[in-house]
């Protein structure tokens, strides 16, 4: 471009910049993170801190290797958002090397191998999560909650100590103390409970008194989801995200889980309530699927993208072999996003509407 062109309009610019958007996303995550910490302990906070450090280091390394300006690119805060999203999806109190592997895969492979911010076709945080789920399935499916003298004590001093030890196992005095502590801290998520019940069929379901399926057994999960939902709604109110993706995901999950739910049958699919508030659906719908870089970018495309993700979330949970499915569903949505964008273009001012057939076949109207 010539200099004369580079100096031209517009002279006046809006105030909202990329780094502000990223900070607002993090701010909107905070209520959910607070609730999650209250119920599941310091492990989450430690993981977030760790993930941020690793993410910034990996980002700096990638930029250095590519000889790109490091400071300017770090200022956009995108690596920190990836770190936050990654850390809240992995089990709290995950070991440090788990966080490192996940973040390194997310930043170095999923983001920078494709050209850095704005170029990655897949959500980096979810790529990191999925990488861990495939390589370390055991570590990725158990949630640790600190216990003090036989009762749950997520945020006490003892809990903090246990979380620290869970993240940094090399600090243990002996291998023996490690085994006892970790054992006391493992629990299953409501979805796992639901799924196990499903595979063990009717008997166990009856034993649990169906209450399990009417409502999530853990209030922690409920409150956490509500907090994430409120955070997401505030992003909507600030105009950072549009309503199309979250709404279409939530509606799709709600509709499909209502259709397949029958309380008295042996097939246990979980209530709509469990699917919306007893899992990671809200985080997925408001924070992960809305990552603009990898999501669909047209209005109609976003709705289709949300529907695909909603269907995948439910399908993988109920019929698939993975326990929670946000990561896979979002990545599946990412695969489809370019196609949706290409065929869901809005009618341009002054043009006549072209039929979908004409657009797909490329024929003139």
């Amino acid at each position: 471009m010539t200099e004369a062109l580079a100096k031209s309009s517009p002279m006046q610019l809006g105030k909202l910049k990329t780094q502000h958007i990223m900070l607002l996303v993090i701010a909107a995550l905070l209520p959910g993170i607070s609730v999650a910490t209250w119920f599941f302990g310091w492990g989450l906070i430690i993981n977030i801190g760790l993930a941020c450090c690793f993410a910034i280091s990996c980002e700096a390394l990638a930029l250095y290797v590519q000889k790109k300006p490091i400071k300017a690119a770090l200022n956009d805060n995108s690596a920190i958002v990836t770190a936050f999203l990654f850390a809240i999806t992995i089990p709290p109190g995950s070991t440090w090397w788990l966080v490192l592997f996940g973040i390194a895969f997310a930043i170095l492979i999923a983001k920078h191998a494709y050209g850095g911010l704005g170029q990655n076709p897949f959500n980096p945080a979810m790529c990191g999560y999925l990488f861990l789920l495939l390589t370390f399935p055991l570590q990725m499916t158990s949630w640790h909650i600190p216990i003090e003298q036989g009762t749950l004590s997520p945020i006490g001093w003892e809990g903090f100590k246990q979380s620290i030890l869970a993240v940094f196992p090399f600090l243990f005095a002996s291998a023996e103390s490690m085994v006892t502590t970790i054992d006391g801290m493992t629990m299953a998520t409501p979805l796992i409970v639901s799924k196990m019940a499903g595979t063990n069929a009717l008997l166990e379901a009856n034993e649990a008194g169906l209450a399990l399926f009417l409502r999530s057994s853990e209030t922690g999960w409920e409150l956490m989801n509500i907090a994430y939902m409120l955070g997401g709604l505030s992003l909507l109110a600030f105009g950072i995200i549009r309503w199309h993706i979250p709404l279409s995901i939530i509606v799709t999950v709600a509709v499909v889980s209502t259709l397949f739910y029958s309380p008295n049958s042996s097939a246990v699919f979980g209530t709509p309530y469990l699917h919306l508030f007893g899992s990671a659906t809200m985080v997925g719908a408001f924070f992960i699927a809305t990552d603009p870089v990898s999501a669909a970018t047209t209005t109609k495309g976003r709705i289709f993208y949300g529907i695909i993700i909603g269907l995948s979330i439910y399908g993988i949970r109920v019929w698939g072999s993975y326990l929670d499915s946000i990561a896979i569903a979002v990545l599946f949505g990412n695969f489809c996003a370019p196609i949706f964008d290409y065929y869901c273009r809005p009618r341009v001012y002054g043009h006549t509407k072209r039929s979908l057939f004409a657009r797909v076949t490329g024929s003139k109207p």
Binding site: A4, S8, S9, P10, G118, R242, G350, H351
Partner: protein
């Protein structure tokens, strides 16, 4: 007019319709609206460009050393797209040489340099007592004679526009008073003080273009202008439509949509659907030209910006240097970092403050770092889609940007690059500081270049082929001639 007219516009209710996209930037209009319109003093030298707009240059009728009188024709339009140019005041022609003028491309143009004698002696004007007695062709000729062009921005010669709308029998005349861009208040100030004259101009325009209906469209937040207009429109068939304040509601295509709900077809102009759009400033100039007999020698220009002590609207003589106007407003030199011609969104940076006001200069903004800080560094596009939400043409600027970077001509075209009106709303909201409009302009220019080259190569290819064919034919002819000669010799 009958209801079975060609465009069927008479059944359409004229009321505010929703336009696509749009932004609501801070307006910064109040400071220049504080005082009334002031006639600007006569500067020491007027620089009158032979090309006042995006058209061809006029032919100068004067020589260096000539004395001219106010309103005297000094350059004539010898081509369809040129504009007549008149002397804004009396004085001596001191030079005819090139000078920088404010425009998109920052180019220099041949200019007539006039040194005023401060006597302001004028030639006699032909006032017309009743324009209604004149034929439309005469009125168009008078408009052309007065050298009037669209004073809203693009500067298309008004006479040509009127001729075109007579040819297609336009049914609706829209007088555009939206003035949606920040900082500009020229039209608002004009309406506040000269609403009657504007309405008179609009009536003349309506008579000329034979439109059955005429409306004035204005943003509803311009309270004083609206009430002045409402008073002037008493006993007039012209109606008023108040549009919601939104940029770019005043764009030509957008105002058609905002008033009628119809869209101008892609690649076309409002007359294609029977609509003629004229700016209020143009209507005022037409009133002056027809009723008072005055050619277009001045216009209303907003002078604003933080470095000016008294921002205001001037009735400024065409050719007045920008620096002179800044001085009249009391400029704080240490704050000044440059000047913008036009509004803060579609305006262009002025390379030299000595450049003169031309007929299309509606606003001059004195820049300061406090109001116009250096734009941040261009960052990666995160495809947030803010740009698509505000695009008034309903394009996908984020996709166009990606295709522009990869020079993908087919996709750029199918994504509607040429439907982009370069309003800059996308770049305004872009959180990554991407100068999107510049990418589109560069792509459009490279396309035009490519197209020219393709045409050229096709031309030379066909020339080459004919040449080859001729050579071959010549050879064949020679052979056959030789053969016949040989045969004859043998016989």
């Amino acid at each position: 007019m009958s209801t079975d007219s060609a465009f069927k516009l008479n059944d359409i209710k004229l009321r505010p319709h929703r336009i696509f996209g749009g932004i609501k930037p801070p307006a910064f209009k109040s400071s220049s609206m504080r005082s009334r319109i002031m006639p600007s003093p006569i500067p020491e030298r007027l620089i009158l460009s032979l090309r006042q707009h995006q058209g061809s240059a006029a032919l100068p009728l004067v020589n260096v050393g000539d004395m001219v009188l106010k309103y005297q024709l000094i350059a004539a339009a010898d081509q369809e797209s040129a504009l007549n140019l008149h002397a804004p005041t009396s004085g001596k022609i001191v030079a005819i040489e090139s000078a920088l003028i404010p425009s998109q491309l920052q180019q220099s143009e041949m200019c007539i340099h006039l040194q005023p004698d401060n006597k302001d002696n004028a030639i006699a004007l032909n006032e017309i007592s009743d324009y209604r007695a004149k034929t439309n062709a005469d009125l168009v000729a008078l408009v052309k004679q007065a050298g009037i062009c669209g004073l809203g921005g693009a500067g298309y010669p008004t006479a040509n526009k009127l001729k075109a709308s007579i040819d297609i029998e336009a049914e609706l005349l829209i007088i555009n008073a939206a003035e949606c861009e920040p900082y500009i208040t020229a039209d608002e100030a004009l309406l506040r003080e000269f609403a009657k004259e504007v309405v008179s101009g609009a009536e003349i325009l309506q008579k000329i273009c034979l439109a059955s209906r005429c409306i004035i469209a204005i943003e509803k937040n311009k309270k004083e202008a609206v009430s002045a207009l409402a008073a002037a429109l008493n006993n007039s068939s012209i109606s008023l439509v108040q549009l919601p304040a939104k940029y770019p509601a005043g764009g030509e295509k957008q105002i058609v949509q905002g008033v009628t709900g119809l869209e101008v077809p892609s690649g076309g102009y409002p007359p294609d659907i029977g609509v003629l759009v004229q700016n209020v400033g143009t209507a005022y100039a037409v009133h002056q030209a027809i009723v008072e007999g005055k050619p277009c020698i001045s216009r209303i220009t907003t002078l604003t910006g933080a470095p000016l002590q008294t921002p205001k609207n001037f009735s400024v003589l065409i050719g007045t240097p920008v620096s002179f106007l800044f001085e009249v407003c009391g400029i704080e030199e240490e704050q000044l970092t440059g000047a913008i011609v036009g509004g803060s969104i579609m305006g262009v940076e002025l390379a030299d403050l000595q450049a003169p006001v031309v007929k299309t200069t509606n606003c001059l903004i004195a820049k300061s770092t406090q109001e116009f800080p250096e734009a941040g560094k261009e960052q990666a596009c995160i495809r947030c889609g803010f740009c698509a939400d505000v695009c008034p043409a309903k394009l996908l600027p984020q996709q166009l940007y990606a295709y522009a970077r990869s020079c993908n001509r087919d996709e750029l075209e199918s994504h509607g690059l040429f439907d982009c009106i370069e309003c800059g709303a996308c770049a305004y909201v872009c959180p990554s500081n991407i100068p999107l409009v510049q990418y589109y302009r560069a792509s459009k220019q490279s396309f035009a270049k490519q197209l020219k080259q393709e045409e050229k190569s096709l031309y030379w290819q066909s020339r080459f082929q004919t040449h080859q064919y001729r050579l071959k034919k010549n050879q064949e002819d020679k052979l056959s001639q030789r053969k016949t000669k040989k045969n004859q010799a043998e016989v």
